[in-house]
Amino acid sequence: MSPALFFKFVGVSFRKETAYRFDYLVMILNGFLYVFIFTSLWKTVFAASGGGFGGFTTAGIISYTVVAMVIRISFSMDDTIIPGRVRDGSVAVDLIRPVSFQMMNLAQCVGYSAFHLTARGLPILLVSALMFDLHAPLRSLPASAVSLVLSYLLLFMLNFTVSLLSFWFVEVFPFILLKYALINLLAGGLVPMDFFPDFIRPVMALLPFQHIFYSPAIIITGRVAPEQAVGIIAVQALWVAGFVVLSAVMWRAASNKLVIQGG
């Protein structure tokens, strides 16, 4: 797909989101709510344990909470599009379009997320920066940027792969719910991996989830030095590649299956 066409899809998807203004004001509030809850929580328990825990200082954990929340909100994706189009059959139209299905979905997803970044993520970041003492070392910037792009692609690929299940199952809502359950708990959007029980951490290190919010957040906030970030980024890249292969295989099988159904 040509870059120009890619950005056309991005633009259309962005504009579609701007239609619900009241909703997004409320959703900004929703993000603040979590920032309030978790900054209050960490302040309380960190004060009780003497101001440091799991490699975080109090200022460090507050920065982590805000950054992880802003990433989480900015990485909003509409994962009902593909299942919806499979259900009502309009995916057939997507198949005969002269553009790659994956790239078209990625472009729509980027437009959707770009809206949530500007309308919700940035306002929350700005206000939080005024309220709290946020740490984000400048020298981590290049590593942070790479890690963010990879974590975005990872989340997209995960959503895309789960969405493809709709070619085989009539009802994919339980799978989507399951995915959210795992992301909410294991991606580090609210509670960083460092606070999890020590016996679970090796298991979590083998899963892709912590590379969605936790990895970029600890790199941005300087919890890990840029030199150490290289290893984390490599693992992120491996996961993205793994999902690209998996979804390609599934996509091939799915499009064959759709042809068999006929119409």
Binding site: N30, L33, L185
Partner: protein, 271 residues
């Protein structure tokens, strides 16, 4: 509401059975859904467990206390969803004109909306809540005096009225704004996250908000103080610990007034 409550309840039971039968048509997907919903709630609980396991206590609330706090919230939330789930997607009912049908039928429009969708997966919620309540009470060594045993159903009753009243309020907003799904989501699903933790962790403004403006703290925090005999900490006034049913009745009555005002204001979207 119609004068004859028994009739309304009978209709509710009939609608609930019809909805359950409809869901059971696809047995496998029904049970997969219940399974997924349960896992989803357990994952939610997971974040809380991680925090407690790591820090042992939060402002003098031990693991047992926290489980009791969580149980009280989740248990009454399960019942709230059971009774008020019809309000979900209420704005869609207004937008596509479905609500107009209820206005011409001989049963109160509110009853028809509220009773329109029975949600069976709410069982998962109540179940997790009950387990948390049981173990929380056990771990914290609650002594079940007669007074406390009588109080528990009253507190759940009050908690359901508070949460139901809040849902009615935010849904009544749709009579003016039409689309309000995000507001409902924020208030109903995210608002509860505030009271998963003892509200003593928040600054004065948020404590005040959760007590006097958006009184979710009465669903679990204040009654939990009473059940757990937390004498050391007092927010605002010690009497608040026993006021849950009263707050519930007041809030729910007010929400009925708001709902009535909304219907009077309502003009069909025309679709």
């Amino acid at each position: 509401m119609t004068p004859d409550i028994m009739d309304t309840l009978k209709i509710y039971a009939a609608l609930a059975m019809a909805s359950l039968k409809a869901r059971m048509q696809y047995k496998a997907s029904f049970f997969v859904l219940i399974f997924a919903v349960t896992l989803f709630y357990l994952a939610q609980l997971g974040s809380l467990l991680v925090v407690i396991a790591r820090f042992k206590e939060i402002n003098d609330w031990t693991i047992g206390d926290m489980a009791f706090l969580f149980g009280l919230l989740t248990f009454s939330q399960g019942f709230t969803t059971l009774f008020f789930n019809g309000l979900q997607n209420f704005d869609t009912m207004l937008i596509n004109g479905e609500f107009d049908r209820t206005l011409v039928r001989p049963l109160s429009p509110l009853a028809q909306v509220v009773l329109s969708k029975f949600e069976a997966s709410t069982v998962a919620h109540s179940l997790i809540g009950a387990v948390a309540l049981y173990y929380g009470a056990k771990m914290s060594g609650i002594v079940w005096t007669t007074e406390k045993m009588v109080s528990l159903p009253l507190v759940v009753f009050g908690g359901v009225l508070i949460q139901g009243g809040i849902r009615m309020f935010v849904n009544a907003v749709a009579f003016w704004t039409l689309r309000n799904a995000a507001l409902v989501h924020t208030v109903v699903f995210s608002g509860r996250e505030f009271v998963v933790y003892p509200i003593t962790i928040y600054n004065y403004g948020i404590r005040f908000f959760l007590t006097f403006i958006f009184p979710l703290a009465f669903v679990n925090f204040y009654p939990a103080q009473y059940f757990l005999d937390k004498t050391g900490e007092t927010l605002f006034h010690p009497a608040l610990r026993t006021l849950t049913p009263v707050v519930g009745i007041i809030l729910f009555s007010l929400s009925m007034v708001a709902w009535k005002k909304g219907i009077d204001h309502y003009q069909s979207s025309g679709s």
